[in-house]
């Protein structure tokens, strides 16, 4: 298997699905590299370069540059999905959810139920998320808990290039609206990615590491922080299991519960703000369903209840660190 970046893995997934299925189209700002300017074609490939090269193979009828108009991008993609296309809409930063939430919350997510099961909405909305670039309060949020809360949506949050490709192919083939979130700090991450097409199913967590002393659940970039912390803990004699749910809706509760049954200790790591968060949800599931298995209180390590700050000093303090994870894990392991 070749070493491939997270970014290239996404590009591979889009390209292979567009070759396989002519109803797959890409819609968004600069996805074809920008349009109408005086310079070269395909200059951007989306702001992060994920769609670079696709317009050359598939043309502007299938790689559709749009104005900056999120309600129309998402709404148009939803309307196209319910009438026969499989659109992949790019929202750019997930923060821009703020200008198009109605088309996601009240429209795409609700069609199937509202219309008595007679609608099919094979829509993917891609967006990047996460802090770490000093991008400030409007370009750094996580927000996946908002989508996870909404019945009718599926929410996918890959942590590796392998998962990025397999989950995106699954998302494109899925018949429900899928929110596909890419952490900005992971685009250059490299990993083993098969050249051929494959899918990673939704609702199946990935156990990244096994250890008997505690269970750490983490998403996206936080899985890497958690693995760093787990290595440091191992040197001190504490062995952690690290679980990446990969999708928050559906959520693989069973894998988490099985692990907690074995370890009796749960630490949830979430880069998101804490209130009504995915971390809170996982903690609630375990508290309700595995109370007798617990040997220590459930702990959450999250960002604080603040917007994401700009200054690197403040932003570093905002993002959960592997040190904070290690400290909390050690406290849990020693709790009695």
């Amino acid at each position: 298997m070749a070493r491939t970046s997270f970014r290239q893995a996404l590009n591979d997934a889009l390209r292979s699905e567009m070759r396989r299925d002519s109803s797959v189209v890409i819609i968004g700002e600069d996805v074809a590299g920008g349009a109408g300017g005086t310079g070269t074609d395909d200059a951007y490939g989306g702001i992060m370069g994920v769609t670079r090269g696709l317009v050359g193979e598939f043309g502007r009828a299938r790689v559709i540059d749009t104005p900056i108009t999120e309600s129309a991008i998402v709404g148009m993609a939803a309307g196209a999905a319910m009438t026969g296309l499989r659109p992949v809409a790019e929202l750019m930063f997930v923060d821009f959810l703020g200008v198009c939430l109605d088309q996601i919350l009240n429209q795409a997510a609700k069609f199937r139920y509202m219309f008595g099961g007679r609608a099919r909405t094979p829509l993917v909305i891609r967006a990047m998320f996460g802090a770490g670039f000093s991008a400030g309060a409007q370009h750094s949020q996580c927000l996946y808990s908002i989508f996870t809360h909404i019945p009718g949506l599926k929410v996918v949050i890959p942590s590796s290039p392998y998962d990025a490709k397999g989950l995106l192919i699954q998302a494109i083939r899925d018949d429900d609206p899928v929110i596909f979130l890419e952490h900005t700090k992971l685009y250059d991450l490299e990993g083993e990615v098969p050249a051929e097409s494959y899918t990673v199913p939704f609702g199946e967590a990935h156990v990244l590491r096994e250890g008997g002393d505690l269970t750490i659940v983490a998403l996206a970039r936080m899985t890497h922080m958690a693995l760093d912390a787990a290595s440091a803990l191992a040197e001190k004699g504490v062995e952690a299991t690290v679980i990446d749910p990969r999708t928050t809706s559906p959520l693989d509760e069973e894998t988490i519960l099985e692990s907690v049954a074995a370890t009796g200790r749960l630490l949830v790591v979430d880069e998101s703000n804490p209130r009504c968060s995915v971390a809170s949800e996982i903690a609630a599931v375990v508290a309700e369903r595995a109370f007798r298995d617990l040997k220590a209180p459930i702990r959450r390590i999250t960002a604080p209840h603040t917007p994401v700050p700009f200054s690197p000093v403040l932003e570093n303090a905002y993002i959960p660190s592997s040190t904070a994870i290690e400290t909390a894990a050690m406290e849990l392991a020693r709790w009695s």
Partner: protein, 322 residues
């Protein structure tokens, strides 16, 4: 404009069916048989019919909270609509949608929409499907004057012009967004003039006149089918009922209400015109009236006899797979 007899008969039939449907919904609501909110289309029939008579079954429309007229005009079954409005399992949406969410995707009816301005972005998506698949279909977005002020329709209109989509925006300007008058709420001189600024042909017509709507739609449709991009029609009309079923409409003067109900009724106007011209006879129209009344009485009876959804249905149809 001269239309053949079959077209005139069909137009009258469709308008009369919508009115009879709505008046029965009103009676059922007043009698307490309908849960939730209901918004009636009476007085606006010439618009849905004048637009949808041009469309094929495979064309698309997106509707509003005031959507019964659009649904019937696009071919939805009156019995299954009434079943839905009464919350029955045999309804078009299995009782999960109700009056504000009637949809029939097989007939190109992409849904009533309870979010004002919610529909236009979806409709341009249907137009994108048509353009991408080269299917020759068109997509019509019905919106009210209230919705005409929403950013969603501005975005949808701009996108439709930029991508040259086969979309038609129809604004039903009935003078009020809930209880706020257009004269207050629309900052521009008129709604059509504002739309023209987006770079597409925009006309304003008398939406109480079937012939005016039908004529305007003919031009917009030909343009969309020929790949000429989107068009905009503002159809000015008047609500006979209020914003919602039971709205006392204190914000409208008695004179205005009387005008809407007795002078500008689109069905009365149509009838007078075709009788005066001799194109149709009173007995032909009376016969249509009888058939429409029978159909809608039957729809009410069927709806009352329908079954309530099983409680298990609460949990189904959230996802295709999960």
């Amino acid at each position: 404009m001269t239309l053949d007899r079959d077209t005139l008969l069909l137009a009258y039939t469709m308008m009369r069916r919508i009115r009879d449907f709505e008046e029965r919904v009103n009676a059922e609501f007043v009698a307490g048989h309908i849960p939730g909110f209901v918004h009636l289309y009476s007085g606006e029939e010439a618009i849905a019919v004048g637009v949808c008579m041009h469309l094929d079954a495979t064309d698309y429309i997106g509707s509003t909270h005031r959507g019964h007229g659009h649904s019937l005009a696009k071919g939805c079954d009156s019995k299954r609509m009434m079943l839905e409005i009464l919350g029955k399992a045999e309804g078009l949406c299995a009782g999960k949608g109700g009056s504000m969410h009637i949809a029939d995707l097989q007939r190109g009816m992409l849904g009533a929409n309870a979010i004002v301005g919610g529909s236009p972005p979806l409709v341009i998506g249907a137009a994108l499907t048509a353009k991408t698949l080269k299917s020759d279909r068109v997509a019509v977005a019905f919106t009210g004057d209230g919705g005409s002020n929403q950013g969603t329709i501005f975005e949808a209109m701009n996108m439709a012009v930029v991508l040259q989509l086969p979309a038609i925006f129809v604004i039903e300007n009935n003078g009020y967004g809930e209880g706020t008058a257009v004269e207050y709420a629309v900052g521009a001189k008129d709604v059509a003039q504002r739309a023209a600024g987006f770079g597409m042909p925009a006309v304003a017509v008398d939406g109480r006149d079937f012939f005016a709507v039908y004529d305007a739609m003919a031009g917009a449709l030909a343009r969309a089918r020929a790949g000429g991009g989107p068009s905009f029609i503002e159809a000015r009309c008047a609500r006979i009922h209020g914003h919602y079923c039971g709205d006392p409409q204190a914000y409208r003067s008695k004179e205005e209400l009387t005008q809407a109900r007795e002078v500008h009724d689109p069905i009365v106007g149509f009838r007078r015109r075709v009788l005066e011209s001799g194109e149709l006879t009173a007995s032909e129209l009376d016969s249509i009236d009888r058939l429409a009344a029978e159909e809608m009485d039957a729809a009410v009876a069927v709806a009352h006899a329908g079954s309530t959804p099983s409680v298990e249905a609460l949990y189904t149809d959230v996802y295709a797979t999960y």
